[in-house]
C-alpha cells in the first residue's frame, strides 16, 4: 500500500478547483429570459418615469418651504486650476498655514506686499458677493420676508471640513494676514453677529467653496422656513432688493435668482422622468421586436 502511494506521488490532487469542475451557474441570453426581462424593465421604467415626471411637475414656487437660489452661468468653478486654488489645511483652521499658505493658491497666495492671504486661492477670492432681501408688498408697504441663512451648507462642511482656528477672539488668528483681494471685508467679519456663522464656517462661504460640477450652476442662498412664509409664499407682489457687487459681464456670464421648493426627488428637473419614460417605452418596443425575431428564427432549434 505504501509502495503504491509512493508510486503515484506526482498525481495531481483531485479537487473541483484544480480539475476545473467548480459548480457554476451558466446563465444565457435565451429568449425566455431576455424578452420578459425587457417587458418587466420597460414597465418598471415607465412607472418610475410617470412618478418622477408628476413629482417634478408638481413642484411649485409658492408652496413651502421655499428656497432662494442664486445662479451663475458660464462660470467655470470646475476648472482645474480654479479647483486646486485653495488650502484645505488653512480652511481646517490650522494657523501654521495662515502664515504660509499652500503654493497651490498662487497667485492668491500672497498679496503685493507679500503678506499671506487668508483664505487664500481663487475659489475663496471669487466668492459671490451680491446680497439679497425679499419683501412682500402688502398694502403698499414692504414686508421683509424672513429667511434662514444657517441651514444651507452640508453638515460635514460646517462641522468637520471647515473650522475656525481655536483662537479668541477670532480676529487675532488673522494677524499679519490680509483678506482676499476681491473681498470687501475680512473673513472674521463675514457675520460678526453670530460667531457660529463667522469666519470659515460662514455658510455663504461654505456654499461657495463647494464648487459646482458644471459651468452653469445654482447655489442655495436662503431658506424661507419661518414665520408667515413657512408654508410658502402667498400670492402677491414681491420686491427683491439686490445689492449688486459681483461682476459677471466680463466673462459673458449671467446671474439669476430662483425661488423654488423641493420634492422627495430634489429640485425641479424633468430630465429623469422623461428619460425613464422614453427608455421604458423603448424597452417595450424592443421586446416586441425581439419577440418577432425570435418567432421568425426560433433559435435554438431542435435540429
Amino acid at each position: 500500500m505504501v509502495k503504491h502511494e509512493q508510486e503515484s506521488t506526482n498525481r495531481p490532487d483531485n479537487t473541483a478547483f484544480t480539475q476545473q469542475r467548480l459548480p457554476a451557474w451558466q446563465p444565457m441570453l435565451s429568449a425566455g429570459i431576455v424578452i420578459p426581462g425587457f417587458l418587466i424593465i420597460g414597465a418598471a421604467f415607465i412607472g418610475i418615469g410617470v412618478a418622477l415626471f408628476v413629482t417634478s411637475q408638481s413642484i411649485q414656487v409658492l408652496e413651502g418651504p421655499v428656497f432662494f437660489y442664486y445662479a451663475l452661468s458660464n462660470f467655470f468653478q470646475n476648472h482645474r486650476r480654479y479647483g486646486v486654488s485653495k488650502d484645505d489645511n488653512q480652511l481646517f483652521g490650522d494657523t501654521s498655514y495662515f502664515t504660509s499658505p499652500s503654493s497651490s493658491c498662487s497667485p492668491y497666495q500672497y498679496d503685493s506686499s507679500n503678506k499671506p492671504i487668508v483664505p487664500c486661492g481663487s475659489v475663496a477670492n471669487s466668492m459671490f458677493s451680491d446680497t439679497f432681501q425679499l419683501y412682500q408688498v402688502v398694502n403698499g408697504t414692504n414686508k421683509l420676508v424672513p429667511w434662514d441663512g444657517q441651514g444651507i451648507a452640508w453638515w460635514t462642511d460646517y462641522s468637520i471640513k471647515y473650522r475656525n482656528p481655536s483662537v479668541t477672539p477670532l480676529q487675532n488668528a488673522f494677524n499679519n494676514t490680509v483678506k482676499p483681494i476681491n473681498w470687501t471685508k475680512p473673513a472674521y467679519e463675514l457675520d460678526p453677529t453670530d460667531s457660529s456663522n463667522n469666519g470659515f464656517i460662514n455658510q455663504d462661504f461654505l456654499v461657495w467653496m463647494r464648487r459646482a460640477a458644471l459651468p452653469n450652476f445654482r447655489k442655495l442662498y436662503r431658506r424661507i422656513t419661518q414665520g408667515d412664509y413657512a408654508q410658502g409664499l402667498p400670492a402677491g407682489n414681491y420686491l427683491l432688493n439686490i445689492n449688486y457687487s459681483y461682476p459677471v459681464v466680463d466673462f459673458g456670464g449671467r446671474k439669476k435668482v430662483v425661488l423654488s421648493n423641493v420634492s422627495w426627488m430634489g429640485g425641479k428637473n424633468d430630465f429623469l422622468g422623461i428619460a425613464y419614460l422614453v427608455i421604458g417605452s423603448l424597452c417595450v418596443v424592443m421586446s416586441v421586436v425581439m419577440l418577432i425575431v425570435y418567432a421568425k428564427f426560433k433559435f435554438p432549434d431542435e435540429e
Partner: protein, 1208 residues
C-alpha cells in the same frame, strides 16, 4: 555570464588556442581559464534591484509610466497627484520583480546543487573529494561508474581493458545507447596509480572552447612526444559513465567553457500572436492618446482665447502664460489624465492569467500518466492561449505515435488465418486486456511477456502440422537476432529491428526457440529438442531486395533456403504450384493491411546439394571480387531465390500509443492538420499513417512523392495538384496578404474530397529548395494529412519553418527524441513526450506530458479555454479602461479643457488595482463555455480560435466604440440629471464632488454588470469577486470620505462627507439605475439579436448543452477499424542493411578483449556496414536496458536493441 565588465574584457582578448599542463595549477592559472563553477542565475543580492528595475523599465509600458511620473512632478502640468501613478507602477514592478526573484532563486538553487556535487580530484599527490566548482583546468579527476562527467576531460586511463570507457550521452544529444571512448596507450599505462598520475606532467594544446559536440582537435605532449587528440579521447560534461568501474581524466574545459554549456544557447523567447497583437494595439493606443490630447489642447487654446482671457478676473493665468502655452501645458496634463488608456496592469494581468491557466495543465489528472507517474507540465507559462489556435501539428512517429513495440499479432499459415478470437456464434471478439491469453507454460523457454489470444495456433503447433512447424522454424532461423543466455533458460534477444525481435520471440513461444548462434551455425530448440542448423549463407536484406534469406543445413543434412520479405517481391518468385495458396494468402494480407498491420510473406525452398555447392562457389568468387561486387551478388541471390514455396504471412502490429487514432480523429475534426515527420522508411511510415487513421482507405487519393530529381518532384507535385483541383496546377498561388519583407501569405485552397500526401526524404530535400517550396507547400496544404519519411532533424525544422513562413497560422511540434528538438524549438509551441528516451525533447519543449493522446485535452480543453479566457479578458479589460478614460474626454468640453478629472483621485488610483481587478481575473481563470466533456463532443468549437475570431483588431475597434457609447452615457446622463437639481432638503448636490461620486458609482455598476454579461460560468468565486468588489468599492469610498481619515490628513481626503450627503438621495440612485441600464440594455439587445440571427458555434453548443442538461454520452470507444485493403501492400519492415555480414563475421563474439575493441572502433569501416534505420542508431525507449545495468557486460551488440520491453 556576468553582467559586469570582467567577462566582457576577457572575451575581447579571444582565446585562440588552449594550453594547459597536468598537475600544474600555477601554470594553468596564468591563463585565467574559467573554473568549473557554472552560473545560470542572473542576479545576486546586490545587483537584483538595479538590474531588475533596469530590465523592467525596458518594457515600453513601464517606461511610459516612469515618464508620466516625471510629468506629474511638474506643477504646471500635474493634473493628478503623483500617487495615482506611483501606486500602480510600484505594484506592477513588485509583482514582476517577485516573479523574477523566485525564478532566479530556483536557478541559484540548481546552480548550487550542481556546483556542490563531489568529485575526486588529485591534489598534492592525493585523491581528495572536492566540490565540482573547485575543479580547475589541468586537474586530474577520478570518475566512478554511473557518475556524471564533471567537466570536459581528456580520458587518461580506465579500469577496462584497452582503456575503454562507456558513456551515455542522453543529456547531451538524447541518445541512450552507450558510446565508447578510448584513452591513449601512453596515458592508459598510468592506470590508477596515484603516484604515477601525480607525476604526469603532459601538456595539452587544443582548440579554444566551442560548441561542436562532434569534434575535438588537440595534441598531448608528454615526455617530449606529441600525440594527436580527437573526439574519441574526450569525455564531455553532461555524459554519464557506464559499465566502467573508474576512469581518470584531465580537465580541459571547465564550467561555462564546456561544450555542454556552450551549447546552452539562449533559447529564443517565444511570443504568442496575442502578444504581438497587444503590442500593436498599445502602439495604436499611444497614437490615439496623442490624437485625443491634441484635440483637447486645441480645445483648450480656443477656450482660453474666447473665454479664459475674460475669466481671468476670477482665474488669473499663471505667471501671465499665453493661451498657446497654456494649451501646450494642457496637452501634457491630458497625457497624464488619459494615461489609463495605456493599461499599465495589462501585462501583469496577462502574465497572471497565463500562469493560472498553466497551473491547470500541471494539475490536470486527466493528463497524468499513472504508469510512469508523470503529470503534464507547462514548462513555458506564457504561451497558453496559443494552444487554442493551433492549425498545424507536426508530429514525430516513433515514441510519439507509436510505442516502438512490435507485437506478433496475426499470421496466415498455409491459407489459414490465426490471431482472431471468435465467440461461440462465430462473431469476432474485440481483443481487450481481459481476453483470455494463450498459455505457453508447456514451453519452459517461452517469453512470459508474449501475448497471443488465438488458441488455434497453439493447437496447430502441438498437432505437429508440418506447415505450421516450417513456418515457425523459418522465423527461428531466418533473422539476424543475437541471443544471450545469462542463466539457463533465461534468454535475451538483441535485435536490430523490433520487427525481427517480435518474429523471433513469436517463434520462441510457439516452440521454436532460437537459442544461440555462431557465425556458421544456429541453434534452436524445436518443440523441446535442441537442433543445430549449419548456417551456410545469409542473403542479406536491403531496401531494393526487400527480403532476406538464409540457407541452412538441417541436422539431418537437408539443405533449405528460408526467405521472408515483401509480398510483392516474394510473390514474383513463387513456384507456380502455390498459386491457389497465394490467392488465399493475398486475401489475408489485404485484411492485415486494412488493419494497419505490417506484413511479411514467408517462403522456403529445398535445395539440391550439387546446385548449392556450385552456387556457393560462385558466391565466394563474387564476394571476393573487387569491382561490381554488389551487382554480382545481387544477381546470384536473385538466381537462387526463385521457385519458392509459400508458407504464409506474418502480421506485426507496430503498437500505437493508447488512443492515438481517436486523438487524431478528434484533432482533424477540430480542423487541425497533422503532418507526420519521421525518420522511418516510407513503407513503415505509410503503414502507421493507416493504422492511426491519418491516411484512410476512403480517401480519394494518397499521393506518393518519391522523385529522385527536382524535375520529377515538381512534376509529381503538379500532378497531385491537378488531380485534387484541375485548375490549380499552373495558376499562381492565391494572392494572400503580404507579410513584412515581401513574403506572401498563402491562402488555403479548397479542394473537393480528402487527400493524403506521402513524401520521402530525397524528394523532400528537393521540395524544400527555394524554387520549389511553394509548390510543395501548396500541394501539401491541400491535403488532409501529410507524411514525410526519412526526414533529418534539420529537415523537420525546415518543414515547420516553411509553414510558418507562408501561412499565418500557429504551429505545434510534438516529439520525444533528440532528433525532434529542432522542430520543437522552431514551432510556435513545442511539446515533448516525457518519460521517453533522453531528456532533450522535454528540455527544449514548452509543454510536456507522457502520452500523445493528452494532446487533444491540451488543445481542445486547456488551449481552447485559455484562448477564450484571454480574449474575453482583453476585450473586457480594454472596455473597462476605455470607458473609464473617455469620460474625462467628454467632461473636458464642460470644464474649459482644463484637464480636470471627473473622478476622485483615489478612485483613479484604485480603479484598476482594487475595484475591477479581481472580477476580471476571476473570469479569466474560471470561465468556460461548455465543460471538457462537451468540448470533446464538439471539436468544431476549436475552429474560432484558429481563425482568431474572439479577439482581433476588429474586436478591439468594436470594444473601443462600445466604450465610447458607454462613456457618453456615463457622462451625459448624470450631467442632465444633475443640471440644476438639489437635494431633497434644498442643499447642493450638483457640486463637483457629488458629481464625481455619482459618475464613478455609475461606472462601477456599469462595468460590473458588463462583466456579468461577459461571464459564462459563474462559480461561487466569481460571484464573490464581483459582489465583493462592488462592496469593497462602497466600503473604501465611505472610508475615504469619512471624518476620521480627513482629520488625519485634511489635504489628502478632501472628499469628506460626499458619500453621505449624496448617496442618501433617491434621485442619485435613480440616476445610477438609469445610467447603468442605458449602458447595458443595448448590449443585451445586440447580443440577443446576434444569437438569434447568426448564432456562433459557441452559442449553438451552449444551447444544446442547456437542452441536454446532462453530461454528454461518453465518446464511443472506437472499435478497431477492420477493412480490407486491396490497394496497398502491408509490407513494412524497419530493418537495415548490413547485419547479415555482422552476424556472420563473428565480430559480435564477446571477449577476448582484443576483438572487443576492434569491434568498437572499426565495425563501420571493416564491414562496409552503415546502419540505416533509426533503431540502429539508438534504442528508442528510456526504460532501463541491460546495457545500463552494471552487471551486464557490454558488447558490440549495443547496436542491437534488447528485447525486454515488458509489453512484449
Amino acid at each position: 555570464m556576468s553582467f559586469f565588465g570582467l567577462d566582457c574584457v576577457r572575451k575581447r582578448e579571444r582565446e585562440l588556442e588552449r594550453k594547459l599542463r597536468a598537475n600544474d595549477r600555477e601554470f594553468n592559472l596564468s591563463f585565467k581559464y574559467a573554473t568549473n563553477a557554472i552560473k545560470t542565475s542572473k542576479y545576486n543580492l546586490f545587483t537584483f534591484l538595479p538590474l531588475n528595475l533596469f530590465e523592467q523599465f525596458q518594457r515600453i509600458a513601464n517606461a511610459y509610466f516612469l515618464f508620466l511620473l516625471v510629468l506629474q512632478v511638474i506643477p504646471q502640468i500635474s493634473s493628478l497627484s503623483w500617487f495615482t501613478t506611483v501606486v500602480p507602477l510600484v505594484l506592477v514592478l513588485t509583482v514582476t520583480a517577485a516573479k523574477d526573484a523566485t525564478d532566479d532563486i530556483n536557478r541559484h538553487r540548481s546552480d548550487n546543487q550542481v556546483n556542490n556535487r563531489k568529485v575526486q580530484v588529485l591534489i598534492d599527490r592525493k585523491l581528495r573529494s572536492e566540490k565540482w566548482m573547485n575543479v580547475q583546468v589541468g586537474d586530474i579527476i577520478k570518475l566512478e561508474n554511473n557518475q556524471f562527467v564533471t567537466a570536459d576531460i581528456l580520458l587518461l586511463s580506465s579500469s577496462e581493458p584497452l582503456n575503454l570507457v562507456y558513456i551515455e550521452t542522453a543529456e547531451l544529444d538524447g541518445e541512450t545507447n552507450l558510446k565508447v571512448k578510448q584513452a591513449l596507450p601512453v596515458t592508459g599505462d598510468l592506470g590508477d596509480d596515484v603516484e604515477k598520475l601525480a607525476d604526469f606532467n603532459g601538456e595539452v594544446l587544443c582548440e579554444p572552447p566551442n560548441n561542436r559536440l562532434d569534434r575535438f582537435k588537440g595534441a598531448l605532449t608528454c615526455d617530449g612526444q606529441k600525440h594527436p587528440l580527437d573526439n574519441e579521447k574526450v569525455l564531455l560534461r553532461g555524459c554519464t559513465l557506464r559499465n566502467t568501474e573508474w576512469c581518470f581524466g584531465l580537465v580541459l574545459f571547465g564550467g561555462p567553457e564546456t561544450k555542454l554549456m556552450q551549447n546552452c544557447g539562449k533559447s529564443t523567447f517565444k511570443r504568442t500572436s496575442i502578444d504581438r497583437l497587444m503590442n500593436v494595439l498599445v502602439l495604436c493606443i499611444f497614437v490615439f492618446l496623442g490624437f485625443m490630447c491634441t484635440i483637447l489642447a486645441a480645445g483648450n487654446s480656443v477656450w482660453e482665447n474666447n473665454q479664459g482671457s475674460n475669466f481671468t478676473v476670477f482665474l488669473p493665468r499663471q505667471d501671465g502664460n499665453s493661451a498657446a502655452f497654456t494649451a501646450f501645458l494642457t496637452f501634457w496634463s491630458y497625457v497624464i489624465i488619459l494615461n489609463t488608456l495605456v493599461p499599465i496592469s495589462l501585462y501583469v494581468s496577462v502574465e497572471i492569467i497565463r500562469l493560472g491557466n498553466s497551473f491547470y495543465i500541471d494539475w490536470d489528472r486527466k493528463m497524468y500518466y499513472a504508469r510512469s507517474d508523470t503529470p503534464a507540465e507547462a514548462r513555458t507559462t506564457t504561451l497558453n492561449e496559443e494552444l487554442g489556435q493551433i492549425k498545424y501539428i507536426f508530429s514525430d512517429k516513433t515514441g510519439t505515435l507509436t510505442q516502438n513495440i512490435m507485437t506478433f499479432n496475426k499470421c496466415s499459415i498455409n491459407g489459414k488465418c490465426y490471431g482472431d478470437v471468435f465467440d461461440y456464434t462465430g462473431q469476432r471478439i474485440e481483443i481487450t486486456e481481459h481476453t483470455e491469453r494463450v498459455d505457453f507454460s508447456f514451453n519452459p523457454l517461452s517469453d512470459p511477456r508474449f501475448v497471443f489470444h488465438d488458441h488455434a495456433l497453439v493447437e496447430a503447433v502441438k498437432l505437429q502440422s508440418p506447415e505450421v512447424q516450417a513456418f515457425f522454424r523459418l522465423l527461428g532461423l531466418c533473422h539476424t537476432v543475437m541471443a544471450e543466455e545469462k542463466r539457463e533458460g533465461e534468454l535475451h534477444y538483441q535485435a536490430q529491428s523490433p520487427d525481427e525481435g517480435a518474429l523471433v520471440t513469436a517463434a520462441r513461444n510457439f516452440g521454436f526457440v532460437f537459442r544461440s548462434r555462431t557465425p556458421d551455425s544456429i541453434c534452436i530448440v524445436e518443440m523441446g529438442q535442441q537442433r543445430s542448423y549449419e548456417l551456410l549463407a545469409i542473403l542479406d536484406f536491403n531496401n531494393v531486395r526487400k527480403r532476406m534469406s538464409v540457407i541452412v543445413r538441417s541436422p539431418e543434412g537437408k539443405l533449405c533456403l528460408y526467405c521472408k520479405g515483401a509480398d510483392t517481391i516474394i510473390y514474383e518468385r513463387l513456384h507456380p504450384s502455390c498459386s491457389k495458396l497465394m490467392d488465399v494468402t493475398t486475401e489475408h494480407l489485404n485484411e492485415f493491411a486494412g488493419e494497419g498491420l505490417r506484413t511479411l510473406v514467408l517462403a522456403y525452398k529445398d535445395l539440391e546439394e550439387e546446385y548449392f555447392t556450385q552456387w556457393q562457389r560462385r558466391h565466394h568468387e563474387a564476394s571476393t571480387t573487387l569491382d561490381d561486387r554488389e551487382a554480382r551478388l545481387d544477381q546470384l541471390y536473385e538466381e537462387i531465390e526463385t521457385g519458392l514455396m509459400l508458407l504464409g504471412a506474418t502480421a506485426i502490429e507496430d503498437k500505437l500509443q493508447d488512443g492515438v487514432p481517436q486523438t487524431i480523429e478528434q484533432l482533424s475534426k477540430a480542423d487541425i492538420k497533422i503532418w507526420v515527420l519521421t525518420g522511418d522508411k516510407q513503407e513503415t511510415a505509410e503503414n502507421i499513417g493507416y493504422s492511426c487513421n491519418l491516411l484512410r482507405e476512403e480517401m480519394n487519393d494518397v499521393f506518393i512523392i518519391s522523385g529522385n530529381s527536382p524535375e520529377d518532384v515538381r512534376e509529381e507535385l503538379r500532378h497531385a495538384r491537378t488531380s485534387m483541383k484541375p485548375d490549380a496546377a499552373d495558376t499562381e498561388p492565391m494572392p494572400g496578404r503580404t507579410l513584412g519583407k515581401g513574403v506572401k501569405v498563402i491562402a488555403d485552397e479548397a479542394v473537393n474530397g480528402e487527400y493524403g500526401l506521402v513524401i520521402n526524404g530525397p524528394s523532400l530535400a528537393y521540395a524544400l529548395e527555394r524554387r520549389m517550396e511553394l509548390d510543395f507547400l501548396r500541394t501539401a496544404c491541400m491535403c488532409k494529412s501529410v507524411i514525410c519519411c526519412r526526414v533529418t532533424p534539420l529537415q523537420k525544422a525546415q518543414v515547420v519553418q516553411l509553414v510558418k513562413k507562408y501561412k499565418q497560422v500557429v504551429t505545434l511540434a510534438i516529439g520525444d527524441g533528440a532528433n525532434d528538438v529542432s522542430m520543437i524549438k522552431e514551432a510556435h509551441i513545442g511539446v515533448g513526450i516525457s518519460g521517453q528516451e533522453g531528456m532533450q525533447a522535454v528540455l527544449s519543449s514548452d509543454y510536456t506530458f507522457a502520452q500523445f493522446r493528452f494532446l487533444q485535452r491540451l488543445l481542445l480543453v486547456h488551449g481552447r479555454w485559455s484562448y477564450l479566457r484571454m480574449c474575453k479578458f482583453l476585450s473586457y479589460f480594454f472596455y473597462k479602461n476605455f470607458t473609464f478614460t473617455f469620460v474625462h474626454f467628454w467632461f473636458a468640453f464642460f470644464c474649459g479643457f482644463s484637464a480636470q478629472t471627473v473622478y476622485d483621485e483615489w478612485f483613479i488610483t484604485l480603479y484598476n488595482l482594487m475595484y475591477t481587478a479581481l472580477p476580471v481575473l476571476g473570469m479569466s481563470l474560471f470561465d468556460q463555455d461548455v465543460n471538457d466533456a462537451w468540448s470533446f463532443q464538439h471539436p468544431q468549437l476549436y475552429v474560432p480560435g484558429q481563425l482568431n475570431l474572439y479577439f482581433n483588431k476588429k474586436a478591439f475597434f468594436k470594444c473601443a466604440l462600445h466604450s465610447c457609447y458607454s462613456s457618453m452615457v456615463l457622462f451625459f446622463v448624470p450631467y442632465a440629471a444633475m443640471q440644476d437639481t438639489v437635494r431633497d432638503d434644498g442643499k447642493d448636490v450638483a457640486d463637483y464632488q457629488s458629481f464625481a461620486l455619482l459618475t464613478q458609482t455609475c461606472l462601477m455598476f456599469t462595468v460590473s454588470i458588463q462583466l456579468g454579461l461577459e461571464m459564462w460560468y459563474w462559480t461561487a468565486v466569481n460571484t464573490f469577486f464581483v459582489l465583493g468588489s462592488l462592496a469593497m468599492y462602497f466600503a473604501v469610498t465611505f472610508t475615504m470620505y469619512s471624518n476620521g481619515l480627513f482629520l488625519i490628513l485634511p489635504s489628502a481626503f478632501p472628499f469628506i462627507g460626499t458619500a453621505r450627503n449624496s448617496l442618501n438621495q433617491p434621485n442619485i440612485w435613480l440616476t445610477i439605475l438609469l445610467t447603468s441600464t442605458l449602458c447595458i440594455l443595448p448590449v443585451v439587445t445586440y447580443r440577443f439579436l446576434l444569437i438569434q440571427l447568426c448564432p456562433t458555434i459557441n452559442n449553438q453548443v451552449m444551447f444544446k448543452v442547456r437542452q441536454a442538461k446532462a453530461s454528454p454520452p461518453p465518446l464511443p470507444r472506437r472499435a478497431r477499424i477492420r477493412r480490407t485493403s486491396s490497394r496497398r501492400s502491408g509490407y513494412a519492415f524497419s530493418h537495415a542493411q548490413g547485419y547479415g555480414d555482422l552476424v556472420t563475421s563473428g565480430r559480435f563474439l564477446r571477449r577476448p578483449a582484443m576483438s572487443r575493441s576492434a569491434a568498437f572502433t572499426h565495425v563501420g569501416r571493416a564491414t562496409g556496414f552503415s546502419p540505416m534505420g533509426r533503431s540502429a542508431g539508438y534504442s528508442p525507449t528510456g526504460r532501463p536496458q541491460n546495457a545500463k545495468a552494471p552487471d551486464v557486460e557490454v558488447t558490440s551488440l549495443q547496436m542491437y536493441r534488447t528485447i525486454n520491453d515488458p509489453a512484449l
